[in-house]
Symmetry: C3
């Protein structure tokens, strides 16, 4: 694993999450593979890019209806090379929501694990698994 | 664009914003070109390093008077090479304010775009454009 | 100082702080040298890896008793090469605490300085000095 790949992963996340936070559901979904999965452990799972786009559109509409601008913050990004040029990552994530009156609220912190794969030379998200820190597993 | 430049940009921001957060207005202003601009879209624009230093001094005094320590947090940094060795960046920014009683408050999140240029081998901020997420444009 | 070392430092911090935030006190302590020091300026100082492990265990138990999940966030990381392959870093740090009801609270921001040294080819924390922004020095 070298710094050039780390840089590429950071750019991948910057573009992916700017798409989401700017409300571009299709562009966000396109950062997943066609058969990609977005898992909110342990209760919710969305499979395929098409379904991820639909779920993201609903999320974007909900955010607009709430009158806030959400921003995602990733931190403590650990990366690990996997088979066939794939990469496993693990990081903490937070989401801020800024309202029109300037107030900032926070959604629960999460621990996220991604499996990124290379398709036609480009990194794509194959599986994202999100564990919210307010959900205590038995 | 390679990882060495990304590292250089990260170091540029680390030093720039540590200067600001430590109240060193002159050192902060010196990270801008002599003809640099700091734009708070859509209402406020400060041109030239001299004026940026003056505006920053007023900001630092206001922060001290408020009895808080501000810290800036940049996230989701996307970088793009531009002409003549210049770099365009785009990132989300947040500012925390810690009071003497230990409480932490947050200023509205922002989306920031910078044009960085190279002067005598060193990166400098030519234009910074800040868009606050609590300001909804028509 | 090159981007490969910057990447290595980022990975060091990712693993170090994921250990702490996941409650692995021993793994966290093992990121310090045997004679390492953790200094909370100006009032508290813990010396040796053994004592850091004990202090961290108490911290982890306190966090569990409070029913929250803490996550550390480092930002504006400045790095500087020192003698004998050592590295000095300086960065801002924040800690979020997510409760079971989903609420997020924040501990005071800090400015942190580390001295990292290389032991058997691996980076270890020799000294960490934390200055809380709610503590105003005379």
């Amino acid at each position: 694993m070298d710094s050039q790949l780390y840089f590429e992963i950071q750019q991948f996340y910057a573009h992916q999450m700017q798409s989401l936070d700017n409300g571009e559901a299709e562009a966000f979904a396109e950062t997943f593979t066609l058969d990609g999965s977005f898992v909110h452990h342990p209760h919710n799972r969305v499979d395929t890019r098409t379904e991820i786009a639909l779920a993201t559109k609903r999320g974007v509409e909900k955010t607009r209806a709430a009158g806030v601008v959400r921003r995602h913050w990733f931190g403590m990004l650990a990366v690990e090379a996997a088979e066939d040029g794939a990469v496993r990552t693990r990081y903490a994530a937070l989401t801020s929501a800024t309202a029109a009156d300037g107030s900032v609220s926070w959604e629960p912190s999460c621990l996220v694990e991604d499996l990124l794969v290379r398709v036609d030379g480009r990194l794509l998200n194959h599986v994202r698994t999100v564990r919210r820190d307010d959900v205590r597993e038995a």
